[in-house]
């Protein structure tokens, strides 16, 4: 008796099941067909969820708007406060509740890929006609055990911004930005002395680990020094070049060339002083160039970050993009990601807004060529570095990691060399922590 009513719907639903099976097989055939038909089926009107951090929101939003306007798929962007991004990703991953697509600060990529948060997209990337032109540092950091998990999304380089208005006021040549760190310090000092008042020579985020990494390390690289070994397991922050760089900044602090608020600056407002015309020259993120004012208080000049005795380098930062390991619609997600790298998106959206393109073959385009400052930043992509370490975030970015006390001691303490020598082993320990 009990079996009969159960069996009946089963018999009735058999044709339906068969029909479904045929439909699945057919759709599977379509998916395995030519790339064009695959792309067509990927733009099926799906809702793609996409998370990014506040720091790179503007660039992400422009790309999302561009994609949504021209596709049936609709990307839903969620912006998470930058400081909270890592914990949110970790919590979502723990609950297997990650969005389809999420951006990651490029330096956190090794940590995410090694923990399996991203889907392997090696084959998809290799099918792109411009795969060899994708920003090399982003591809390198998104590669784990020879498999690729991420593509470049936003490129954010550290470069010197100097205020030509203040240079003129201080009697400096506005067309001669510093070419050595010593010149940088001299020019900053001159601005503080000659202009004074609320205007200071330079600024940095004194309690912001990521800011130190982004602004100081290029000077160390430009001088031929290293901050870590290649595997990111050993700190070499006590190298002679590094000591020289920290000593220069330490002296600027002692001489009062930098506002006292720099010591407690934890990151959220470290770029807010320059656009107000209060700072002479400082390393800044290239992505802020498009938002810089051009008036009688501020005229921005751009120069590479120099080493102690010359040379130039940059920290190639920004975000990478990947499909989450838990996404149920990787084809649709890839449709969006691959579109963000297309000529159309890169030139008409990214370059048009004075952002750095993610492809080296598009470095020279109608928009960037019109502004020599953007040309310079584009050129720096090839000269810059993105350091690799599995524990990068927990060592350098985490406000309670070992890096901030060491850097603060070196910059604001009595003696930079001793602070770095004493601090290097603690950083190494954090880098090696399992």
């Amino acid at each position: 008796m009990a079996g009969t009513p159960l069996r009946r719907p089963g018999v009735r639903s058999l044709p339906l099941l068969l029909l479904l099976l045929v439909a699945v097989v057919l759709s599977g055939c379509g998916g395995n067909g030519s790339p064009s038909s695959s792309t067509a089926s990927a733009d099926s009107g799906a809702k793609i969820t996409f998370w990014t951090r506040a720091a790179t929101e503007a660039a992400s939003r422009r790309l999302v708007d561009g994609y949504n306007a021209s596709h049936k798929n609709q990307v839903e962007l969620t912006v998470i406060p930058t400081d909270n991004y890592q914990p949110r990703i970790a919590a979502a991953a723990g609950a297997k509740n990650l969005p389809d697509v999420f951006a990651s600060d490029v330096i956190f990529m090794p940590q995410y890929t090694s923990r399996g948060l991203f889907l392997d997209i090696t084959d998809r990337i290799d099918k792109l006609p411009f795969k060899d032109s994708l920003a090399p540092s982003h591809i390198e950091l998104g590669t784990y055990q020879d498999r690729k998990y991420g593509v470049p999304h936003v490129l954010d380089l550290s470069v010197l911004f100097y205020n030509k208005v203040l240079y003129q006021k201080a009697g400096l040549d506005p067309d001669k930005p510093p070419t050595t760190l010593k010149e940088f310090a001299d020019q900053a000092r001159t601005i503080r002395q000659k202009v004074g008042g609320k205007v200071y020579g330079t600024f940095w985020g004194g309690s912001c680990g990521g800011c130190y990494v982004f602004t100081y390390w290029p000077s160390i690289w430009a001088g031929g020094g290293e901050v870590m070994n290649k595997d990111g397991t050993q700190s070499t922050i006590d190298s002679p070049q590094s000591v020289q760089v920290f000593q220069t900044y330490n002296q600027l602090w002692k001489d009062g060339v930098v506002p006292s608020s720099a010591k407690d600056e934890r990151g959220p407002t470290w770029t807010s002083y320059f656009p107000k015309g209060l700072i002479g020259v400082m390393p800044m993120p290239s992505t802020t160039l498009g938002q810089m004012p051009d008036n009688d208080k501020v005229k921005v000049g751009v120069a590479p970050i120099p080493g102690p005795d010359g040379g130039e380098s940059t920290f190639v930062g920004g975000d990478s993009l990947g499909i989450s390991a838990t996404s149920k619609q990787p084809d649709q997600a890839w449709d969006f990601i691959s579109w963000t790298l297309s000529d159309q998106a890169q030139v008409e959206i990214v370059a048009k807004n004075k952002d750095i393109v993610s492809r080296t073959d598009l470095a020279s385009n109608k928009y960037s060529d019109a502004d020599p400052r953007v040309v310079l930043i584009n050129q720096m992509v090839g000269k810059g570095r993105t350091p690799y370490a599995l524990n990068f975030g927990a060592t350098y970015n985490d406000p309670n990691g070992p890096w901030i006390p060491v850097a603060r001691d070196a910059v604001f303490g009595a003696e930079a060399a001793k602070a770095l020598t004493d601090g290097a082993p603690t950083i190494t320990k954090a880098l090696q922590q399992q």
């Binding site: 890592q86 914990p87 970790a90 407690d264 934890r266 524990n391 975030g393 309670n400 603060r408």
Partner: protein, 319 residues
């Protein structure tokens, strides 16, 4: 006679009532009990479910996680007791224990004294007392995280008014950093916690004060007791249960401090204001070491249970 008759009536009534239930109806009584116990189960089930789902299950999970290497995605692997043996190697946690205990002692004493002072101030019905009580209690209506952000702005030399006020009063001549040194950061945070919680503690103490019978004060006055003697011999002893409650709440809350330091100081400068829960948070969400974070949570939980048991024991003995 009448009394006996009425007694008899009652006894008859009683008898009648029992006689209404024949021997064969006994199961009805049992079913009444059953339905009563079912009713009881019905009433307690929602609470039991909430306790199991929101308290017991996570607790068991935390104990289990602490015995495993627990990845963000994928299946965990047993690695006991590594998560526990690694704890002494975590210098941040050791440092955080010291700081959290220091903070707990200071805030519990200061908060209790201030709240008691406020409660005594507005204890008696006088003109304007209602207004003062409202003013003192008002900050309790602000969310703690929101309050911490408010103070973050207040202390900022860029956007906050404090810096300008202190300078115009010539108390300072250059920007003062309210979170720049370990002590400044600690006491700036304590000021925030007092602002946010003193009013609430005052309210609880006020309830305790109001429940002391006024006759006792009158008797003390008749006996010629001074104000101080009345406070020591009458108010304090009778306020002890309220004080005990506040002590337990304050100590537990302070040992679990997170929001205020996370928002206001981020544990800085140089990790001097790092609390135990912040280290757990860091371990889980920056280092993705969920097993290690669970082990630290278990340690904090055991410390809390032990401390509360000790406090309750001492207070009970005094009773």
């Amino acid at each position: 006679m009448g009394k006996t008759a009425s007694m008899g009536a009652i006894s008859t009534q009683t008898h009648d009532t029992t006689s209404l239930q024949p021997a064969g109806r006994r199961p009805t009584r049992r079913s009444w009990w059953r339905s009563r116990s079912l009713k009881g189960i019905g009433y307690t089930t929602p609470t039991a479910v909430i306790v199991v789902v929101l308290f017991l299950a996570p607790l068991v999970l935390v104990f289990w996680m602490a015995l495993n290497r627990w990845p963000l995605l994928g299946s965990p692997t047993l690695n006991a007791p590594d998560n526990y043996t690694q704890i002494p190697d975590n210098p941040l946690f050791v440092q955080a224990i010291r700081f959290t205990l220091k903070y707990t002692v200071i805030i519990t004493i200061v908060l209790l004294l201030i709240a008691l002072g406020l409660a005594l101030l507005v204890q008696e019905r006088r003109r304007g007392v209602g207004f003062l009580r409202t003013i003192y209690l008002l900050p309790s209506g602000v969310g703690f995280a929101a309050a911490a952000l408010l103070f973050y702005g207040l202390y900022s030399s860029e956007i906050g008014p404090l810096d300008g006020i202190l300078r115009s009063l010539h108390i300072i001549d250059k920007p003062f950093s309210f979170t720049g040194t370990p002590n400044a950061a600690l006491f700036s945070t304590i000021a925030l916690v007092i602002w946010r919680f003193a009013g609430f503690q005052m309210l609880i103490l006020l309830v305790g004060l109001q429940s002391i019978p006024s006759e006792l004060y009158e008797a003390a006055r008749v006996d010629g007791a001074t104000r101080w003697q009345t406070f020591r011999r009458v108010t304090l002893p009778l306020l002890r249960p309220t004080l005990a409650l506040l002590l337990v709440v304050s100590v537990s809350g302070s040992l679990l401090a997170f929001d205020q330091f996370f928002i206001l100081t981020q544990g800085q400068p140089d990790n001097s204001t790092l609390t135990m829960v912040m280290v757990i948070y860091r371990e889980a969400f920056f280092r993705f070491n969920l097993g290690g974070a669970a082990a630290l949570s278990v340690v904090v939980l055991l410390v809390l249970v032990a401390l509360n048991a000790l406090q309750l024991r001492i207070l009970r003995r005094n009773d």
